[in-house]
């Protein structure tokens, strides 16, 4: 990709958007996971958790382009991004599958390590895919993600709250990139270019429709179920509700 070309700038914008939607909440996850630790341990857990989120990205970025050249790994990466994109549009469920805040140091460390791994993998895969094999852009994506992870959390989550369309746009972008990865896997790439170059546009567009469509459908179902079950949420502590 030529520096300064329209395709280059589109990739730059995509990478920044990816870092915002996939990096913006990492520090919050780490802080919430270490919430029940004593304060001094909590501070340490947050520091090392954020450090780990960045260090893992550095390591993964290094291998990302090489790994994604292995047959079918782009398909796997694309499917992961589909899942993250759909998940992004869903409300917070109460499913019991999550690992979570723990009062024990090891429990919190385990949560943070697993979360760091997943958060770094999805971010790096999406950056690598948007970079279209340009190492310079991959490194740019890494550099942009660091301040967003360390300082951006509150701002990014505020942005999503004030402008919920940001979430839909982020999910749509992930759907596009995921679709793009499917057609660019080394196994299909040459065939697609030779026989059906239009698929390079159709599959990513279908990816957007799948993520946004499925996300909206599942979200409205979950929302309807919740409204029947609970009504409006009041988090005020019951014992002090009226005195």
């Amino acid at each position: 990709m030529e520096f300064g070309s329209p395709a280059f700038w589109i990739a730059v914008l995509q990478i920044i958007a990816i870092d915002i939607v996939l990096g913006g909440d990492n520090a919050v996850v780490i802080a919430l996971a270490s919430r029940r630790l004593p304060p001094d341990l909590q501070r340490k857990a947050i520091f090392w958790g954020v450090f780990g989120a960045i260090a893992l990205r550095v390591v993964l970025i290094f291998f990302a382009l090489t790994l994604l050249a292995i047959p079918y790994l782009k398909v796997v990466g694309g499917l992961l991004l589909f899942w993250i994109g759909i998940k992004m549009m869903l409300p917070h469920d109460d499913g019991g599958h999550e690992i979570d805040a723990s009062t024990h140091l090891w429990g919190a460390i385990k949560t943070i390590i697993v979360a760091d791994a997943v958060m770094s993998v999805d971010n790096v895969i999406a950056i690598a895919a948007a970079s279209k094999d340009s190492m310079a852009l991959v490194i740019f994506g890494l550099v942009v993600s660091v301040p967003i992870i360390v300082w951006g959390s509150r701002l990014v989550l505020k942005l999503m709250e004030r402008f919920p369309v940001v979430i839909t746009l982020g999910a749509a972008l992930l759907g596009w990139i995921a679709g793009d990865m499917l057609v660019r896997d080394v196994v299909f790439k040459d065939w697609v270019i030779a026989n059906a170059p239009l698929l390079n546009w159709i599959v990513p567009a279908a990816g957007v429709l799948v993520v946004v469509g499925l996300g909206k459908l599942l979200a409205s179902r979950a929302g309807a179920a919740k409204a029947v079950a609970e009504g409006p949420v009041d988090l005020a502590a019951p014992e002090t509700k009226r005195d």
């Binding site: 996850v29 469920d93 999550e98 409006p232 988090l235 005020a236 009226r242």
Partner: protein
């Protein structure tokens, strides 16, 4: 029946609004009820949804909300008022307006930093949004 709502964000402006609301309460000859509401920012990132249980998140909102409400609650009870408290999650302007309508509040006492309209626009004044969305009268307290 007079029911007033005072949004509390932990700032001094909110406490001044509370003082004004309580002054109305003292003047009032009708039954008077005082609602305090705090609104927490939703942490709705995709990884938060994946890795953190909803209960943990709600505990966190509750803890932060109660901490923000504590000084106002103390002030009100010191002045002899009983209060109803509410902790909501989401966009503050929307939650405040919605709660006021739901609870049939007769007025909202809204503390504001009193920035000009330009600064308010840039900083996204909650007060302006409440005025815009509320179906009940809003009294601004600077």
């Amino acid at each position: 029946m007079i029911a007033v709502l005072v949004p509390i964000d932990g700032s001094a402006h909110a406490l001044r609004a509370l003082d004004e609301a309580m002054a109305e309460g003292r003047r009032s000859t009708e039954p008077f009820s005082l609602h305090l509401v705090n609104v927490q920012q939703a942490l709705a990132g995709v990884h938060v949804k994946t890795f953190i249980k909803r209960e943990t998140l709600e505990d966190y909102y509750r803890e932060q909300g109660n901490a923000a409400l504590a000084p106002a609650r103390e002030r009100a009870s010191a002045a002899g008022f009983s209060v109803t408290v509410h902790i909501g999650v989401g966009d503050p302007g929307e939650v405040i307006a919605q709660y006021a309508a739901q609870q049939h509040c007769t007025r909202i006492y809204m503390g504001t930093r009193g920035l000009g309209s330009v600064a308010g626009m840039v900083l996204g004044s909650v007060a302006v949004k409440v005025v815009h969305l509320s179906t009940v009268p809003v009294l601004m307290v600077k």
